[in-house]
Symmetry: C2
Subunit: 319 residues, 2 copies
């Protein structure tokens, strides 16, 4: 029960409106997307990946990207982020007023070719081109290069750790402001997560970016914990675990925002996100996607009896 | 691909046949229980809580406890464990030939009274009586006191950490060989798990026992990771996440054995359990309980491509 709230210690970057919506067959209406984004902001979310700037023919779910960005920009204090797969997408995103671009750069050549028909090194050149474009059109906009399949790949299996780190270093050299690591297919384990983020932070310092972990094999929160303990302070997750690669009920892809916020807040790590309100943000999500399964164990179980947010159990006991 | 297997580094204690079966309405036949236990042993499980010695009228699921113990004792190298709520149960368990007894001692007075109609201190006296009985009848048998509601209680809320540790110390002084901590209702977080196990190990040394964590709010594996990093080397879990307090699909109570084994093996921590065979042990479980939901994300998603058990990804890459 703090009278003046302390500054958050970590940033939870909500990817549901992009990564989540892009992965499901249903299409959410623009009005529903805006309601959902408003609810996320009301809960205290400070960074939201709201859309993907790709041709409407490829991803009809993202056909209203510019409108959604326009709406999100009404919220002061929120970083409005969008995924761009290439220079053309970046141009459209910058024209729409996006404040942070994220470009996926796959460490697995097999995945990169299958996904964007470019090798990882060709994607580094894409980063360079987008960074130049950003410098011309909107120099205040941040550019993130997210290294996907950083922990393994369903096509090529193991991804050498040296190559992952080298690729992140090249992305920063090419003009990205930050480079994070994504466990695109849910292969990561906590020991590997520690090793890779330790190296990433050692190499990139303040340019080291987010941990984007998946929960495909149930290790999502354990991996986020390991990354936090190595110094990572930005975590991607998705409300209701929407998106990723769901195999079966309960086997969601993305880490569930609600569970992630609960874990950190219960540990006494301030997220800036209000637990009751982030759970309430499920309502517009479910209303906008009535036929999609929504995950999350904390919302199902409820908060522990006697749990007071902003007051760790330890602090409560010594009070 | 080791030619001679190295010794396991941790002990995963399977509680499904007791904790799991006790929590579901269906009754598994004795023959099915035995088939399931055989499959667990074939996978390399070295400690199994096979039954609970309580009056048949209270828990008909456990009416065949002595028979199941007899069957499990045929497996050399496996510790056959049973839960006993009191001295009478302990007597029956010892007569049946059980090799390790576990007695639940609740740190929450409210929970203790509701559950066994005794206060925590009265339960310490029960430990003393059972330890004496064990010394007379079967001095080689180990006695564990599991401190339940050690991380919080649905009845009283917060449980003071000093009381949890003091209770564990009293149980050891009363004659228990080891005392572990149970997150009976899934309230634990990784910071609290670290604090409590650190204190437990500092106070009890080699008498510090298992981490029995639940996955009610999705933090089960993260809490096991935190406990491991503090030095805990025994973990309770249940095949298919059977048991605990399931609220909804995916929201199982007990930590899922398959996911726990995957996490540790992927980290390069040897469990002694064969991943393919522990997943195969789901077959007799599902056959014996056809109407109960069985959880587990690793079994649903499958092992990562290129994953070789006994060879961490790091080791594979430097080879």
């Amino acid at each position: 029960m703090n009278t003046k709230p302390l500054a958050p210690e970590i940033l939870i970057s909500e990817v549901g409106p992009r990564d989540g919506l892009q992965s499901v067959p249903s299409i959410m209406s623009t009005a529903d997307k805006c309601r959902w984004i408003d609810a996320l902001v009301a809960a205290g979310v400070r960074e939201i990946e709201v859309a993907s700037f790709v041709p409407r023919s490829l991803l009809p779910q993202m056909g209203d990207a510019a409108e959604v960005v326009q709406h999100a920009l009404r919220h002061p204090g929120v970083t409005v982020m969008a995924l761009v797969p290439n220079r053309r997408g970046a141009e459209n995103a910058l024209k729409a007023g996006v404040q942070k671009l994220t470009l996926p750069v796959s460490a697995s050549t097999a995945h990169s070719l299958a996904n964007v028909r470019k090798t990882p090194l060709e994607m580094v050149e894409e980063v360079r081109g987008i960074a130049r474009l950003r410098d011309e059109l909107a120099p205040h906009v941040k550019l993130e290069a997210g290294i996907s399949t950083a922990f393994g790949c369903t096509l090529q299996g193991l991804v050498p750790e040296d190559e992952v780190i080298a690729l992140a270093v090249q992305c920063i050299a090419a003009g990205a402001d930050e480079s994070g690591l994504s466990d695109t297919v849910g292969y990561a384990n906590p020991a590997q997560t520690r090793r890779l983020f330790k190296r990433l932070i050692a190499e990139l310092g303040s340019h080291a970016g987010a941990a984007h972990m998946h929960n495909t094999r149930g290790l999502g929160l354990a991996n986020c914990l390991a990354a936090f303990e190595e110094g990572v302070r930005t975590f991607d997750s998705s409300l209701g675990g929407l998106g990723g690669c769901p195999y079966a009920p309960g086997a969601s892809g993305n880490v569930v925002t609600e569970d992630l916020v609960f874990m950190f807040e219960a540990m006494g790590v301030r997220t800036g996100i209000h637990l009751d309100l982030i759970m309430a943000a499920r309502e517009p999500l479910m209303a906008g996607l009535p036929h999609e399964p929504i995950y999350g164990m904390t919302p199902q179980a409820g908060l522990p009896k006697g749990f007071v947010q902003g007051q760790s159990q330890h602090a409560a006991l010594s009070a």
